[in-house]
């Protein structure tokens, strides 16, 4: 069963416009949720995490995400895209009922147009 779904494989925005990267999860339990960013030929960097505290989570580089239990979503947003935001973004869910293993989404490639 698919535990996390990233709805868009590619997203393209103009510099200075908002960014929305979508992520949905499936779980019977309260999950821990993470967003990671990966620049070309680099490791993954944690942007932000949700672990059952505040539902609106603020991360680094101006990114934030909102946990919506009713919609089983954890979409990543940023008010104004910067050229340096161009990268691959992974939504990750960790589920108690599966031993806290990390499940990665398939990734969303963000392109920022000057």
């Amino acid at each position: 069963a698919q535990s996390v779904t990233q709805l868009d494989s590619h997203v393209s925005v103009s510099e200075g416009t908002p960014v929305l990267l979508r992520c949905n999860y499936s779980s019977s339990y309260s999950p821990s949720l993470f967003w990671y960013v990966q620049h070309p030929n680099k490791g993954l960097q944690l942007l932000l995490k949700y672990t059952s505290a505040a539902t609106l989570v603020k991360g680094i580089n101006g990114f934030e995400a909102e946990f919506k239990k009713s919609e089983t979503s954890f979409h990543l947003t940023k008010p104004s895209a910067h050229m340096s935001d161009a990268a691959e973004y992974f939504c990750v869910v960790s589920l108690e009922d599966t031993g806290n293993q990390f499940y990665f989404g398939t990734g969303t490639s963000l392109t920022v147009i000057p």
Partner: protein, 112 residues
């Protein structure tokens, strides 16, 4: 700064020639992971150590093995690399399972 270090960053080997990739951490985390990431794909977990306990994913080929001689170091051994093993190999650590994982920069393996 506390970090996860991977050496080498780029590794070239020949078909069938054993290769070892290394990972070290200064975070003092008890869990260490090895992932394989192929082009335009998400990382795929190969195995992880929870302290000294080794946990192998069911679909990890026997060709891949790992060693963790102490808390700080973890090695990935590929006994007989095939062309399909060319990938980025990522090491990660965490303080307990289910917590955020900290990733190294990766080692890109090329198999000739």
């Amino acid at each position: 700064d506390a970090m996860v270090i991977q050496n080498p960053r780029y590794q070239v080997t020949q078909f069938g020639k054993p290769v070892t990739l290394s990972c070290s951490q200064t975070l003092n985390h008890n869990v260490m992971y090895w992932y394989q990431q192929k082009s335009s794909q998400a990382p795929k977990l190969l195995f992880h150590y929870y302290d000294k306990d080794f946990n192998n994913e069911a679909d990890t080929p026997d060709n891949f093995q790992s060693r963790r001689p102490n808390t700080s170091f973890c090695f990935l051994d590929i006994r007989s690399p095939g062309l399909g093993d060319a990938a980025m190999y990522l090491c990660a650590t965490s303080r307990g399972s289910g917590r955020e994982q900290f990733f190294g920069p990766g080692t890109r393996l090329t198999v000739l």
